[in-house]
């Protein structure tokens, strides 16, 4: 133990402040790890009696957890269904055993362990605290809900009274002019609750066209009505209003929104088909069309694949069982799925990646990225190779990646590609610094050595020698490079 401590002492004394980057994972993390180790090494001393530790209330205040208790009710409610009597009994006995209950319900029980009894100010304490009362006496008295049908209130007073939560009859506002004065007063009073209340009254007492017409020039009130209709789910009236206002795009979106509530995929597909004719903006129509087509495809693929998987004939489904259905997934996820399970299929089939690419005009970059991820996941390195190889008209092949080779490397590395595969692509990373970083990180020694050679950086190359294994081919390579008289080192 003391030796470990000496090591740590040395660490703390030697560590000094350095420039901070989030990339610098090794350094910062190791600093954290050191701190963690130091703290953990103390655990033996500290954790002698666990209970005692828990007693320390570090929450600052004794709060009981209501959320916890609700979970309890939820779990016990199933049992209370069978035996109503027992649950009732439990309830009544809880008073006698209050102190015990208290500790088991307290917040610190969440943190496990015992807790001292929270000091709860009793009701009488609270009431004797007159200082509090004087500051805000209103709080203790719930606003009296007395009704007042007096007809004398002016529109302004009516609005004011409503703002204070008092019930006011609006029935006497019968002429359109009176109604609008009332509405304008409500808007001027800034209280949305009252604005909505007046609108509810107007909606009930005015023909909708008349109401709509008046609201057209009252934007704030209009917003309130629209929001109210959305909340109460009066979709038909909402659409009528939007149509009246000529907000055709909103009409379309508002109708399209309903698809979120349709569970059944067949019904959803039908619904989406109907959406295609709605007055969307030119740009959005294609998105709606795509949404419909995508779901249609997914239904076909899903039916087929479920069948295939159940039959157990297809090797890929046996080896990598499907974890979830493809229904309602985004297009890119569908493409990934298709690259994973249906990569080699001819373009004619609905489930083939090339078909998807064509139908939805998926950009090259997106396609390569997704296909790469899918094939790398299957460790099909030849496919990866083929995906990134292009032939020019002379028949020469060349590696090309629309996404940048550092991304390729990242994807391959995440799928545990062997060094030989990784190396090939690390070598293709254009930016020298990034290439060196990646090569060093993933131990692609050859790439590092070659890069230093090309940079004619003798010092770095020598330094790297200690990173490779002794007696390995890499070490030999470094040695032979270093003794090569033909290289004109820059240092």
């Amino acid at each position: 133990m003391s030796r470990a401590r000496a090591d740590e002492e040395e660490y703390w004394h030697s560590s000094k402040f350095r420039a901070f980057t989030f990339d610098d994972e090794d350094d910062e993390l190791s600093q954290l790890k050191e701190s963690k180790r130091a703290v953990n090494s103390l655990r033996d001393i500290v954790d002698d009696d666990d209970d005692d530790l828990e007693k320390v209330s570090w929450s600052g205040e004794p709060v009981g957890s209501i959320s916890w208790s609700i979970k309890e009710t939820a779990s016990s409610s199933s049992s209370s269904l069978e035996g109503r009597d027992t649950s009732l009994q439990k309830g009544s006995s809880s008073y006698a055993a209050l102190p015990k209950q208290v500790s088991s319900y307290s917040l610190s029980s969440l943190f496990k362990g015992r807790n001292r009894l929270p000091s709860l100010p009793s009701l009488s304490d609270a009431f004797s605290d007159t200082g509090v009362k004087n500051y805000a006496p209103e709080l203790r008295r719930p606003r009296a809900e007395y009704k007042d049908y007096s007809n004398d209130w002016s529109p302004r007073d009516t609005v004011r009274r409503m703002q204070r939560g008092k019930v006011c009859s609006l029935e006497r506002f019968r002429s359109l002019q009176d109604k609008m004065v009332l509405l304008d007063e409500a808007v001027a009073g800034h209280d949305g609750n009252v604005i909505t209340a007046v609108l509810i009254f107007l909606k009930r007492t005015l023909r909708r066209e008349v109401l709509f017409r008046e609201l057209e020039v009252r934007q704030v009130a209009l917003c309130h009505l629209i929001h109210f209709l959305k909340e109460t789910g009066e979709q038909k009236l909402l659409l009528d209003l939007l149509r009246f206002l000529d907000r055709t795009e909103e009409v379309a979106l508002s109708q399209y929104r309903e698809h979120l509530n349709i569970q059944d995929v067949e019904k959803k597909r039908e619904f989406l088909k109907g959406c295609i004719g709605l007055p969307f903006s030119a740009e959005d129509i294609s998105h709606i069309q795509d949404h419909y087509t995508l779901l249609e495809r997914q239904i076909i693929i899903e039916t087929n694949d479920r069948h295939l998987a159940m039959a157990g004939q297809s090797e890929i489904f046996r080896k990598y069982p499907r974890k979830a259905s493809i229904l309602n997934m985004p297009l890119v996820t569908t493409l990934f799925y298709s690259c994973f399970y249906h990569y080699t299929e001819a373009e004619g089939t609905f489930s083939s990646p090339t078909n998807l690419k064509k139908t939805f005009k998926i950009p090259d970059k997106q396609y390569v990225l997704t296909a790469l991820a899918a094939r790398a996941k299957l460790r099909a390195w030849e496919d990866v190779d083929a995906l990134l190889t292009t032939k020019n008209w002379l028949g020469y092949t060349k590696k090309k990646a629309p996404i940048g080779f550092h991304r390729v490397v990242e994807i391959l590395q995440r799928n545990n590609a062997p060094v030989q595969v990784l190396q090939e692509y690390v070598r293709l990373v254009e930016d020298v610094e990034t290439r060196l970083n990646l090569a060093t990180k993933y131990k692609c020694h050859d790439v590092v050595i070659d890069t230093y050679r090309d940079l004619k950086d003798r010092i770095q190359l020598m330094a790297y020698k200690c990173k490779v294994e002794r007696g390995s081919a890499e070490e030999e390579k470094i040695n032979s490079l270093l003794s090569n008289m033909q290289i004109r080192w820059k240092n």
């Binding site: 954290l32 100010p121 959005d284 997106q366």
Partner: protein, 617 residues
């Protein structure tokens, strides 16, 4: 400012009274329904309720069982049901269903709905329509203000943001006005009031109305808070959209702080269970690192663990008596510190791991480029690639919004292409999200032609057709200068520093974004407080679309008025982020004043983006 001798900031007033008031009123309301009853609680209200009362308080007032308000029939067998809810139409239907089901089966019970913080007429209308009005009694629990910490008070109304800024609904303005009235009656009277934004102005006016009406018995009382500053969230979306790099902000972005506490999972606790931790000034470790830039946190934690070790080491060589003393007096504190330390180290480790995985460094670089307005093309392709790789949908959206706001909208070609790719990567239903973002102004498309001013188009007519294309392009980029750029220039939000920005001893508030950007919202507060008003900021106000105000009600002159004049309530309508809190705390320390944060809810870029999505009904 800096020239005057630096004074210590006054201590914050005691906000514990707010909790007591809320608890007492709740108890009173529960007693209005005497006898045993089951209590149904809205999920959103559970954490706030947890902070002011506990189950035993409820039990003492004859609450039998607790249920969560959800979309399932309730198995309650009690004869009295009490519902503690937010005023929502959905919830009213749920309650009405229960009442109507009882009626059908011939069962009679008592029902009480307690609305928090207030009742809405629309809710009563639903009860009436469902035929249960009169069967239920309604009450209001005026629980407007929840102190989350010694200097943070939250209204816990995250829906304020969407309701007001997206739907244009003013329903919460009354609640804000009442909250201000309550605060003013307990800790005021506030002598200076500043504000900017439409909602701020309306809230102020309604509050004034309420004050005029109530008998002002606060006269002659010594105020504890002298100043108040109200600001709408839409004055500054940029700050809320930036990645947070102060510790508390990072913890929020990574683990989500909920109502002042956080759930640290097994990856943090290095055990198999999660721990719920209250994060506030009482946590001795946390309170020292919460406002720090993440890079300084490691050093601090190392130092702490070294100290802790040393203190434990003192045990060696103690005699029995000393040992006894040590155990009885120090061990407890040390253990507590040890525990906190290991939790925060675990949290840091977990944050580091997550952030390295998601290319955080590169992302921050892009954000800084957007803030400064260079390399727009590169940033756009970074965002595009982010979308293509199907990395976090929320992050992709956030970056697009940041691009849009800093550039005053996306050029149509980029807008179309990014939107298409987004829908392909994350699902076509996000069409609705894009529509919402456009309406609220977070993600917009520059209208064609908008980019050319009259002069510029006249100039381009003068040049030959061949060159015209090029020239127009050049002008396009010129004309894209957005309000954000202009504001940023006017207020020097991008600090000019020679050499490295010192994050350990930061010179200004920009440290909360690694020295790359001073949060606009906080800069406005700083400027207005310094000038005691808006004089000299006319251009900034114009760029922000006005609605500014400043009132001084018999404010004492300099020097007079005592500590209260150095206490400022910063009110954020639509939410405030931990980065903004850290920045203003820093400013407070520099200027010897104390900021109290009053927000409709704590927010973050992720919460804002999520609020824009359309959910199932």
């Amino acid at each position: 400012m800096a020239s005057t001798a630096r004074r210590d900031a006054p201590e914050p007033p005691d906000f514990g009274i707010l909790k007591r008031l809320a608890r007492d009123q709740l108890i009173y309301l529960l007693e209005q329904l005497p006898g045993r009853k089951d209590l149904f609680i809205e999920p959103d209200l559970m954490s706030p309720l947890d902070r002011i009362a506990n189950v035993s308080v409820l039990k003492q007032h004859e609450v039998d069982k607790l249920y969560r308000v959800e979309n399932r029939p309730a198995p309650s067998t009690s004869d009295q049901l009490c519902f503690l809810v937010r005023p929502r139409v959905r919830t009213m239907r749920y309650i009405a269903d229960i009442v109507n089901a009882d009626k059908m089966s011939g069962r009679s019970r008592k029902y009480k709905i307690i609305f928090s913080p207030q009742k809405f007429y629309a809710c009563e209308m639903v009860l009436e329509e469902e035929g249960v009005f009169g069967d239920v009694t309604c009450d209001e629990w005026s629980f407007y203000l929840l102190p989350l910490d010694e200097d943070i008070i939250s209204m816990e109304l995250p829906e304020f943001f969407r309701d007001y800024f997206l739907e244009g609904d003013h329903r919460w303005i009354n609640s804000v006005a009442r909250a201000l009235q309550l605060l003013n009656s307990l800790y005021g009277p506030f002598s200076r009031v500043y504000g900017i934004g439409r909602c701020a102005k309306m809230s102020y006016e309604l509050w004034r109305d309420l004050e005029e009406e109530s008998e002002n018995d606060g006269q002659g009382r010594k105020p504890e808070i002298g100043n108040i500053f109200l600001m709408d969230r839409d004055m500054d979306y940029v700050t809320a959209l930036c990645s947070q790099v102060v510790y508390e902000g990072l913890v929020d972005d990574t683990f989500r702080i909920k109502c002042g506490s956080v759930d640290f999972g097994p990856e943090v606790t290095s055990s198999d269970k999660s721990i719920k931790v209250l994060l506030n000034a009482q946590d001795k470790i946390f309170s020292q690192i919460r406002n720090e830039h993440f890079s300084s946190v490691f050093g601090f934690l190392s130092q702490k663990s070294r100290n802790l070790q040393a203190q434990y080491d003192r045990r060696q060589g103690m005699d029995i008596k000393q040992m006894k003393n040590f155990v009885s007096q120090e061990l407890k504190g040390l253990k507590q510190e040890h525990r906190l330390l290991s939790l925060h180290i675990g949290a840091c480790e977990s944050i580091m791991k997550k952030k390295t995985k998601q290319d955080f460094q590169e992302m921050i670089k892009v954000e800084h480029a957007l803030l400064e307005g260079f390399d727009i093309r590169e940033s756009t392709s970074f965002i595009e690639e982010h979308i293509d790789r199907q990395v976090s949908p929320i992050e992709s959206l956030r970056l697009m919004c940041l691009l849009s706001i800093t550039e005053n909208g996306l050029i149509p070609k980029d807008y179309r292409s990014l939107k298409t790719q987004y829908l392909q990567s994350y699902g076509p239903e996000h069409l609705l999200t894009f529509h919402n973002l456009k309406r609220i102004g977070l993600l917009t498309e520059q209208a064609a032609g908008e980019t050319l001013t009259a002069v510029e188009s006249r100039v381009s007519k003068l040049v030959t057709d061949r060159a015209a294309g090029k020239i127009t392009d050049a002008f396009n980029s010129l004309a894209k200068k957005s309000n954000f750029r202009a504001i940023s220039k006017k207020l020097s939000l991008i600090p000019r520093v020679d050499g490295e920005y010192n994050l350990k001893m930061p010179p200004d508030m920009a440290y909360v974004f690694s020295g790359a950007y001073t949060p606009l919202s906080c800069k406005i507060v700083e400027q207005v407080l310094e000038r005691r008003g808006w004089q000299g900021l006319e251009e900034v106000v114009r760029l922000l679309n006005g609605n500014e105000f400043a009132m001084a009600d018999g404010a004492p002159e300099d020097g007079a008025g005592g500590d209260a004049q150095r206490v400022v309530v910063a009110v954020f309508l639509g939410g405030c982020t931990f980065s903004e809190i850290a920045a203003l705390r820093f400013l407070g320390k520099e200027r010897g004043c104390r900021f109290i944060f009053l927000t409709t809810a704590i927010t973050s870029s992720a919460r804002m983006m999520e609020a824009m999505a359309e959910a199932k009904a």
